[in-house]
Symmetry: C2
Subunit: 349 residues, 2 copies
């Protein structure tokens, strides 16, 4: 019996609902394959502020350190967003968690599902066959630089060291060699010094991966190319802020934000979460799509070396899409609920 | 006879070709309405580096200061892009020009042209009727903050003062009152201190424009909404870097980058340019679309208070689109050349 300890942070809004379904699937995997998953559910985000005043309580961080992997739902609450003066915000918990665990690489696969082509705002012929993997640096850049106020203004500092760039660059190159051998660096090297450093480091590392063709795109052009011709991309590598923007933009290719999982990895820790947010308007209505979180579980299983298990979960999701067992954003007539979709997938497994 | 002095900076790549056509149209306007446009053609960009070592020679800057308006083609050359160590780059000329002239607001209209709906990568029903105006701050933020290298890394500082935010915010609100009375601020206030300052300043100014409904979007979400539902936007207001990304992304709605003009204005100076780049691969082939530059001339005429003249140029462009007199990116069979499109429009005028 393989035992793995998983810290579960359901978070805010629809986070708890989608986590419940992902756990159903995890339990189905455990039954089928005889693994043991020990779940340790903890508070993070707005719910943690409400309960403790801290978006990332010490006990949550501790549980994450002790776990083999972390499953996160979503965090965030509008009551903090339009209050620029709020001193404590849910996002601080997530950023501190990423930084404390050293989760420097955020990995987001984006694929156009054939059965969902009609749901994308993009024309089918532009996206059919699109299949990319975005490597976003997650613990550096302007997110974590010094920031503050001056008498009459505000500032945010963006910094990158060569090591911070090099470690994720190696991961991205390695991944490209297992795919279509293409890597695109997205930067703004015609303006930013940090981007010029990214380009330098990537150029230095590239010869170690001779099979990989390297491409450089300015972020403004990349934002356009992502829509004009998404099939050109295989592995995309980029810094924190550009990755935030580009990967959310890329989600339109899949036809729904509710389908896209992500992994955030470091030297030792690994966290898995859907890329969608806490979607507070949908909370408790049973309309949230649990698939992104379930596919995040599949990424977690791969991370555990359980490839067969991961493949089975992905197969179950494909079957669900094929059978049109979908939540309202993907199926207008007689949609299924969050719970029904989760149960259907767990059942298949 | 109205006299206006225009500094023309054709720049690099296709810049000179599209400027030639725009000038044809300007001359047609001058004949038809009896105005006098004095053109002062100057070097800027890679061509200026080649000729003088400086992307923005003193004589060019001087000519811009003396002009009533500036017409810019495009700048940039790939030989500088993949050389992170290059000390002199064409873009420095453009950035210095923007800063020296105080061109703090870059204004980009984006419209879905009915006759070109099929050319957009987006489904027609998503974009039909889309019509937005993007206000991008152009002389602050991370573009102009301190930047440099440390022993082992690099940094770029993003700063904004309240005044820098307030002056463009007023322009954007004023413009919203002449349109559909909606303003969307795009920021990353859940992470960046400068974004929180933007939100504060906009919230402070909003009551002065009670007819305008104000909306706040995080930039990652905005990058998604731009594709999912572009019709929701009227006036978009944002900082320099986010504006660079979002406005290039928005260009996919029009069906071609070759259609989109822009104005950059300050207290006294005003510069007009297509949003596309120097597209070096197309240089000299007669395939560049001159319409973006011609529409930039229309914006210049409006700036001069010549509304009738501007409307006529726009009407001529509409007619050209309707008659399918278009360059290859918009017309595969028997496309017209850059020169033919320019002549057709000038002729209509
Ligand atoms: C919630 C926010 C801080 C976060 C980010 O910007 O990183 C989110 O948008 C994401 O992409 O995970
Ligand atoms: C050429 C470059 C410096 C410029 C910018 O980023 O501002 C361009 O992309 C633009 O949008 O005008």
């Amino acid at each position: 019996v393989l035992t793995r300890r998983i810290a579960v942070l359901p978070g805010d809004g629809i986070g708890p609902e989608v986590c419940t379904e992902a756990i159903k699937v995890l339990e189905a995997v455990s039954e089928r394959f005889g693994h043991q998953f020990e779940l340790d559910v903890q508070l993070m985000g707005a719910c943690a502020i409400d309960a403790t005043g801290d978006p990332l309580p010490e006990s949550t961080l501790q549980a994450c350190f002790e776990a083999d992997a972390i499953l996160l739902g979503a965090i965030g609450d509008p009551k903090y967003d339009n209050n620029p003066a709020a001193k404590v915000r849910p996002e601080q918990g997530l950023l501190r968690l990423r930084k404390s665990l050293g989760l420097f690489a955020n990995i987001r696969p984006v694929t156009a599902y054939d059965v969902l082509l009609e749901h994308s705002p993009l024309k089918a012929d532009r996206i059919q066959g699109a299949d990319m993997l975005i490597y976003r640096e997650l613990t550096g850049g302007i997110y974590f630089g010094e920031k503050g106020r001056t008498q009459n203004g505000a500032y945010d500092h963006c910094t990158y060291s060569k090591e911070e760039i090099a470690r994720i660059t190696h991961l991205a190159f390695q991944s490209a060699t297992t795919r279509r051998n293409k890597l695109t660096l997205v930067d703004k090297a015609n303006v930013l010094e940090t981007s010029r450093l990214w380009r330098e480091v990537v150029q230095q590392i590239a010869p170690e991966y001779p099979s990989v063709e390297v491409d450089y795109l300015f972020v403004d052009n990349a934002a356009m190319q992502m829509i004009l011709n998404p099939k050109q991309f295989d592995v995309i590598l980029t810094e924190n802020m550009f990755g935030d923007i580009i990967s959310d933009e890329a989600s339109v290719i899949a036809g729904s934000l509710g389908l896209l999982p992500s992994a955030s990895v470091g030297e030792t820790a690994a966290l898995f979460e859907p890329i969608h947010g806490s979607f507070p308007q949908a909370k408790g209505k049973g309309i949230a799509n649990p698939i992104a979180t379930i596919l995040s579980v599949a990424m977690m299983l791969e991370h555990f070396g359980m490839q067969e298990e991961a493949d089975l979960v992905k197969e179950a999701v494909d079957y669900t899409l094929e059978k049109n067992v979908l939540t309202p954003e993907l199926r207008k007539d007689h949609p299924f609920t969050t719970e029904q979709v989760g149960a259907f997938i767990a059942n298949y497994v």
